[in-house]
Symmetry: C2
Subunit: 773 residues, 2 copies
């Protein structure tokens, strides 16, 4: 599908646009609600099963859609015969590029035949046809009855061979997606010349797949020329704009609702073909259609963090000065350009002070499913290289790994032309994290014990930053207060499981002096809520909370003006607390909101808030340092993660509980990235994915996660980043995790495994190579 | 149930409150969209069956509720035994005042036992118990199995006997609801003395019942402590406030959604017990509950236009000067005070110039279902008296009935202390209506023909005004424009079948220069939309359209500011047309909304609009004159309405089609009021209603409505009434109808039947009395 220019609103680069709407909000002083550990406002719905996720939705007369997908990594479809399938019980529609279209679908013939069901299938899992039937089982049965003639083509499944002569060509334009991107500052040759130690190391990460618990899917319904999609998405407006553009509809007539979603991690930021397929099936059958992908489809077709190949050369002086870093990175977007190496070099470019840096990124194409932004795109991979290199450099110059990092904490964003950070808590993360972890003591103890048994103990540290902190405009929120002082918040952002709704209820409660549970929230519905960019990139809270705060402040202003008139006092002497207007000067002057005649008369007040602009000439960046302890069974190659301490400067902690949950979730995901998760392609024989299910694609489970995890929030009191002071916690929480584990494994075993996931086979092989196994 | 002070926002009196929010909007000049005959924006949904009315809603696990109602007009419930019912298949809950409550309902024990299921049942149809079961049939079966012991009491079914000594007492406080209300201006005794002719006549209207096509009902669902009600209501905020107050909840936690409704006519402005019953049944079963009343229940328990007893004495000089009017009116609210005679005297007080007026209204109690506001409360009844009296006065002084009315057209509202009307189109209604009807010619023709056969032909005129024109604050609307120039409107008002959504889309389209069908509307949802008062009283369009316009103007302002900056021109030179920003000065300066970079950057703009205050010291009033022709079969007593011409000054015609539909609907309803509809109570024997279904309670059908109906809109170009110039058409359309028919019957037969409905029995009796039958 042709991408709508406005539909993609996620950071492939780093900049969020500015808007002209400014909001003049003073930074909060002491807060009464914000920062407290509040359970989720929608916790009951989520755990009781009453929350209606798109897959739970059942509409009268609803059909079930299913998509037939190409079983080959590279093939031309030359014929599709749906006659048997269409005649099967319950089958109501079959849609392909090779069969006649009806009045409902004919206007989209070109899009269907050249984009949606492009006969040139470049990856296993590409869409070939779709059906709608009365039951999900009938739909699946019908798929099996569709007869497709494929002409198989040579395939390329390993991006490391993409540029070899004679490699199968993924696209006519070749196997590289665009030019190699080069970043440079200073002079790396001179920098390496100044170094006392220069190390040069290759690293690789295997491809990781989002595969969130909740499958991708949607329900599509038409009312005349209006389309409603209930979709599991991180950004209802992204889906609205993309689907509208694809179907040639005004945005206003495409309503996308995403009230609950069960995980996306970036794979649900964009719009996939299934949403358009569901819309077309619903249109052609004049019935609502539910289309939920299978687990296999989510593993194949809707996104991954591509494998990365990295080489990092770094020089350091004996005093810990990093003199130069040179980085080469490559990866594969899949079968079309999709930012496969996006931000892979950012950790090298910006984490530590270094005058001479050069990076090169090469994005390649292979016959495999598409890359999508995946929690901190590029960063865990880049950190995997950088943070192990820092460990090695520290060892080489005989300096403590924490000390080397602290020595090089930056206060300006070198990658952005040395603009200052609004706050830099990296030093505190490292120091307070180390203190909480007992870094020195445990290292001394391990050194004393000598680590002689089969099970070896080690600790590791890694730091990180996230490119896009502090959020950014545009965002609009509306707050409405009822005559009894209870409140409704209207915002477009999705709560993708991170507690966004809870945090926003707290922001409203903070400003209006009401209880957070009297704040009801309407969200993530292009028909009924305000505009928000997709929830992702750690920018949801920093983007939305200032808009929500501004809307609440607008209501507060109106309330206080009404009250000042009734109480016959200056409006500047009034504020809101505990459901009352109170005077900051005279305790006798007070009025309950329910007694405020102006509010009763108006029945409700509506406030609108906009996300103000980001600070000019400053960088807003969250920082992190994570510490872990592992036990490595050198006989089996198993790594047990014993504990984690995660110190984060993500600006203000809006809600202690959800903040901590994000951190623990990020660590869990990092454990998967570092130790267990890998897309296994049969690169030589068939090009197909070999572990196409959750049995063989190993997500970390509770048994892989340490019971002992500690969150150490560092609040830098950042009053510049935005009007609430939050910088974003989602991505940073997972950036250093794998690298910290890698460093701990090295500390335990003396073996550096540079290739994730560090599974038992890989670790045992590495130990054997070093004679440690 | 105790009424929440804010929940009732309908005019029992006449004043709407003012707010401080002013909107400075210039009156429209020539309009491009407003005023055109646009089909309804939701027409497809309504006719295709895809519109989901509350009764169409099916939620997973939903139960069906039903209410047991007292079969007696007056009884004490002394015991309720639900054991047999509760043991029946599928029954999940039984709720009474006599059975133990559980944890979910116990907090409401007092309300349930003394209000919801008050053992003192004062009308047939009062709620006694409720059940919830897996199917609607099981619920109805269970009701029949509930054993109730009633102690019957003497009943009062005829309000004309309410104040007789020894009459059964409806309440301990007696059978009158409050004091008799007296209005007086001038000196009627002196006025009558000045008259050349004084007539004195009694009139009566039988009780009419709303019984809208769509039954009353709702679906209730709890999510933890949050309640959602999908309700067929004219005002979602009314229901929200009343239910929240009854259940002791914050307003924000009661979400009321009323996206479609199929007629209410006033009976769905307030909140009935069934909504609370559904909420309690859902709470006690922890399941969603659908509770839709039966047709019998809508006839008994949810509202009526009570019978009215009127006496009007009027004096006139030979020159047509009306010297005095004295009016006595009574009616019955039902078994508790409910404004049963509300506004009954308003036509007498305000329609014609008269210096000396005295009215007395007495509201009585009987053992019958409650009065509710019914399309133009009091007015068709008052007009039934006044307009027949005008006819009789004209005849008495030998003046044409139209001429007498024109002679007495007021320009000030005498009932409001002689404040001027913002516009008075009554004269034009009479004159242009008469012209369109061919009044003089047809009267002359009938006179010439002599009307000698059995079927006699006659024509009649009646005029009217409606007390509460022009709407009023508060109302808030939000308009959101998307990056492609399509638009979303958010408003709290219900579209009760009158085309409100269509009119509001036109208002937005007018201001923003976009197509009305690109305006998507979110409405009537306390969770997602802005505050609006209930839709009723002809005030929906006049109240909401200025707020909607103000919101669109706010968006327009923002758009033009962005455009002025990009185009580097003065903002005052720009306007919007056909999806483009255009210069009013230079045709070369133009930019499509989709090319406006500021809009692309912001992704959407949000505008908020408030309903401004009503004009100070002015009255806003819609006027009407209707003309009809009838054929009276003096043998059978049947009246055939042959044609109607309706001339209305309701201010600006916002949409020709929906305006005309309102007028034709009003006439249809007026025909029912005048000719067919009557609640028949068995006043002597049982006190029960004898025509408890649509077979015996006769609504007019297509066969009763003339094919020849003409709408003559009079636009007075009222720029003072509010920012859109609309005064309201819903009520005025039905006010003069019955009286015009009554006058036509008199013209045809020489017999004045003063008692509605003028059904064949009543007409034959009257003709016989005059020797005409």
């Amino acid at each position: 599908m042709k991408e709508h220019p406005d539909a993609q609103y996620y950071i492939r680069g780093i900049e969020l646009p500015e808007t002209e709407v400014s909001t003049d909000l003073e930074p909060w002083g002491e807060t009464r609600v914000v920062g407290k550990p509040l359970p989720r406002v929608d916790g009951y719905e989520r755990v009781s099963g009453t929350a209606v996720y798109p897959a739970d939705l059942t509409l009268p007369g609803m059909l079930y859609g299913a998509i037939l997908r190409c079983p080959h990594p590279h093939a031309m479809v030359t014929a599709v015969d749906v006659r048997r399938a269409a005649a099967m019980p319950g089958v109501r529609a079959a849609l392909t590029a090779f069969t006649p279209l009806d009045r409902a679908t004919r206007p989209h013939a070109d899009m269907i035949r050249t984009q949606l069901f492009d006969p040139h299938c470049r990856f296993q899992g590409e869409a070939v046809a779709a059906v709608a039937a009365e039951t999900a089982y009938q739909a699946r049965d019908a798929l099996r009855a569709i007869q497709v003639q494929y002409e198989e083509r040579p395939f390329l499944a390993d991006e490391r061979k993409a540029l070899e002569p004679g490699a199968p060509q993924v696209r006519d334009s070749g196997n590289q997606a665009g030019e190699t991107q080069v970043y440079q500052r200073g002079d790396v040759a001179r920098g390496f010349a100044e170094a006392d130690v220069v190390l040069d190391q290759e690293y690789r990460n295997e491809c990781e797949i989002h595969t969130p618990m909740e499958l991708h899917g949607c329900v599509a319904r038409w009312d005349g020329d209006r389309l409603t999609l209930w979709e599991s998405t991180q950004g209802v407006y992204n889906v609205q704009m993309q689907v509208a553009a694809t179907l040639g509809m005004p945005f206003s007539l495409v309503r996308v609702v995403g009230h609950y979603m069960g995980g996306g991690f970036g794979s649900k930021l964009q719009t996939s073909k299934y949403s358009v397929v569901a819309a077309l099936l619903a249109k052609t059958t004049a019935r609502p259609v539910k289309l939920v992908l299978t687990r296999e489809e989510t593993l194949l077709a809707v996104g991954n963090r591509p494998a990365s190949n990295m080489r990092l050369k770094a020089g350091v002086k004996r005093d810990g000065t990093i003199t130069a870093m040179q980085f080469w990175g490559s990866g594969a977007s899949g079968s079309e350009p999709a930012g496969g190496v996006s931000l892979l070099d950012w950790p090298v470019r910006d984490t530590y002070t270094c005058a001479n840096v050069r990076t090169e990124l090469t994005d390649l194409l292979i016959n495999a499913g598409p890359a999508r932004p995946f929690r901190a795109p590029g960063h865990p991979q880049g950190a995997w290289a950088l943070e192990q290199m820092m460990d090695a450099l520290a060892e080489a110059i005989g300096m403590d790994p924490v000390a080397l990092r602290v020595r090089n904490v930056p206060t300006v964003s070198q990658a952005r032309g040395n603009v200052p950070y609004t706050s830099t808590g990296l030093r505190q993360c490292l120091e307070q994290g180390a203190a909480a972890f007992g870094w020195d003591a445990v290292r001394a103890e391990i050194a004393r014990q000598g680590n002689r048994g089969t099970v070896k103990r080690g600790v590791g540290v890694a730091a990180g930053l996230w490119v896009a902190g502090g959020g950014g405009p545009p965002s609009t929120a509306v707050v409405k207060i009822f005559a009894d002082g209870s409140v409704n918040l209207n915002m477009g952002a999705s709560d993708i499981g991170t507690g966004t709704k809870t945090v926003m209820a707290m922001v409203v409660a903070e400003e209006l002096g009401v209880a957070p549970d009297a704040v009801e929230i309407e969200h993530a519905d292009t028909g009924s809520t305000q505009f928000a960019t997709g929830s992702g990139g750690s920018k949801t809270v920093p983007t939305e909370s200032p808009a929500v705060r501004a809307a609440a402040v607008d209501v507060k202003r109106q309330l206080l003006e009404l009250a000042a008139e009734e109480l016959k006092v200056e409006v500047s002497t009034l504020t809101l607390r505990d459901g009352k207007v109170v005077s900051t000067q005279d305790p006798a002057v007070t009025r309950s909101l329910t007694e405020l005649q102006g509010l009763r008369r108006r029945r409700s007040l509506t406030g609108v808030g906009y996300r103000g602009p980001n600070p000019a000439n400053k960088a807003v960046t969250p920082f992190a340092a994570q510490f872990c302890e592992v036990e490595v069974d050198t006989a089996s190659g198993e790594v047990r993660v014993v504990r984690f301490v995660a110190a984060h400067d993500s600006g203000r902690v809006m809600n202690q509980l959800t903040y901590q949950n994000q951190v623990f979730g990020g660590i869990t995901m990092g454990i998967g990235f570092g130790l267990t998760e890998e897309r296994v392609l049969d690169v030589d024989q068939t090009g197909k994915m070999a572990n196409l299910n959750w049995h063989d694609y190993k997500l970390p489970t509770m048994l892989d996660v340490p019971a002992d995890m500690t969150c150490v929030p560092i609040d830098p009191k950042d009053t510049e980043c935005n009007a609430t002071g939050a910088k974003g916690i989602g991505e940073p929480a997972t950036i250093p995790t794998a690298a910290a584990i890698g460093n701990a494994i090295y500390h335990a075993t003396g073996v550096r495994v540079t290739h994730t996931p560090v599974d038992p086979l890989r670790l045992v092989a590495a130990l054997a190579e070093r004679g440690e196994g």
